[in-house]
Symmetry: C2
């Protein structure tokens, strides 16, 4: 028995939701996973889980959500999933629904921001003042922490849409971003790999030239991030990065694009200390949501 | 007579130094300007100015320095100008020299970071959680504040070296960066303009196509910054931006590169509230140095 505060977390993904109660990686007291169906059913499943576990004892509940989401506290649609193409989910008011049902303070942020907050609290960015998290999956997203806090600013970072140099002689594929064609996401997300090579990314062999090109684009993006934000650590996650050959290729490409300009041992000699996978594994999403709940309750 | 603390500031530029004592834009009690000659003579001039004004009453002295500089407090060369090509100035230990002569706490940062700190305190970024300052001059530099503090991270931002898309059919000029050829600085700093058009930037007429191309590169860089950091304000200064036609062109180019992806009224409808010139004018450098002194003394 302990009287320290308890927190709730929801990883609200486009394919599954994970809900948990606890205080950190070594103290998860209850957990449930279920597929993302309709908003009404999915939110009801989450509410039922927390109602079954004495929600009045939770200092706050954090939610890391698929998007796009409205994070502007001054906006009438704050706390909603906004214009998603996911059927039925556009304009789903997640925060209000949970708050009305459970009566607890609700923290709400993007899935990548929340994953970063968990890594900052317990994982691969624990010792960092400035850190970045990039996910390379169905899309490409990115978040940043500075001084222990997530960067929001005008809206929130949309790192997947920075522009990259593409050499049409090497890569004639024009990219798939509906807004920018060959931005980072348009060139390097999982569906871009599939469209370029006519093969699902997970079926491309490890020695396929796709991976060297993919790493070159990610390395260019990381070089830009190092010039702009000077992060002490860059965490890269997402389905595409589960290819084990990718980390060495991305580290080498980052060095190539910087070409010796930024003189720091973690760039020049030990890029494995700078560019790393997430450390929290399977539970990263829901642990991040618990970290967000701790921030929401003022406990961090 | 007041007993509120007093601060010293030094704008340590490559062509001139400005030293001042005061507490802000409306309270500069003494000021001196002199050309940058040898390190010994220049530092002696600065020390003489402060010695003549009761340095024991200064809570701290801030220095905004030309670079490259070492800002790593754990490094033996912390507080120095390091590998500058400026004759005689390589490995000049600015902080130690000032501290030994004057006995006051010395704050030390890059010129662009310090200019941003002044704008955050009293100028164009006063109300911002996240803001960026870009200077377009002999080089291109950039700094960021998040939550009232300058971002340093691994080293410090070097925003001038992000990569940009260049269309060789429109711009065959390959860029002048010795590390990256056509990074932002390589394509868009003052000397790049001179090299591309065989005319000093300040002599190019206002209707020369140089300016539309220049604005296009800066707009691309600002679009990347908006995707990565989501700043609420971007201040652009430096000699090249003294061309009055540039601000409207840069705002339009930023919108063109984003192509409607980031939906915020300050991007879509009022880019004049997002992308602005510095507000502190002639004294921006030395006022920023006073703001740094206030941070150094713990007064902010
Ligand atoms: N082992 C793998 N190797 C390469 N790509 C993969 C692998 N597993 C999944 N992907 C790709 O990652 C994308 C899915 O990303 P993921 O991070 O799993 O989910 P999401 O981004 O939808 O949350 C798909 O485009 C898929 O092709
Ligand atoms: N009025 C002007 N119009 C365009 N370019 C200018 C103008 N004045 C100065 N420049 C250019 O700006 C550069 C100098 O930048 P400046 O910000 O004044 O100094 P520095 O960067 O050396 O501190 C030079 O390349 C110069 O050609
Ligand atoms: Zn895009
Ligand atoms: Zn460069």
């Amino acid at each position: 028995m302990t009287h320290a505060p308890l927190y709730g977390g929801i990883e609200a993904g486009g394919t599954k939701w994970v809900c948990a109660i606890g205080t950190g990686p070594d103290d998860i007291r209850a957990e449930v996973r279920f597929p993302t169906t309709t908003p009404a059913e999915t939110l009801a499943n989450a509410i039922a889980f927390f109602r079954a576990h004495e929600p009045e004892h939770l200092a706050a509940i954090g939610v890391g959500s698929f998007g796009p989401v409205d994070l502007n506290p001054a906006s009438p649609s704050y706390g909603s999933i906004t214009t998603t193409p996911k059927p039925g989910w556009a304009h789903t008011d997640v925060v209000r629904t949970l708050h009305q049902a459970l009566g607890r303070p609700i923290g709400f942020d993007t899935d990548v921001n929340v994953a970063l907050l968990g890594e900052r609290q317990w994982g691969a960015a624990r010792d960092c003042d400035v850190a970045v998290y990039i996910t390379v999956g169905t899309g490409i997203g990115g978040g940043a922490v500075v001084g222990g806090k997530l960067v929001h600013g005008l809206i929130h970072p949309e790192m997947g849409h920075m522009r990259l140099v593409r050499d049409p002689a090497r890569d004639p594929f024009p990219g798939i971003c509906p807004y920018h064609s060959d931005c980072l996401e348009g060139l390097a997300c999982g569906p871009a790999l599939k469209a370029r090579w006519q093969t699902p990314a997970e079926e491309l062999p490890a020695d396929h030239p796709a991976w060297e090109l993919e790493a070159d684009y990610l390395g260019q993006a990381l070089a830009n991030l190092l010039c702009i934000l000077s992060p002490e650590r860059i965490i890269i996650g997402g389905g595409v990065m589960s290819q084990p050959q990718m980390f060495p290729l991305v580290r080498a490409a980052t060095q190539r694009w910087l070409n010796g300009y930024l003189q720091h041992p973690h760039i020049l000699d030990h890029p494995d200390r700078l560019i790393v996978p997430p450390a929290l594994g399977q539970r990263a999403g829901v642990l991040g949501a618990i970290a967000l709940a701790m921030h929401t309750a003022g406990g961090v």
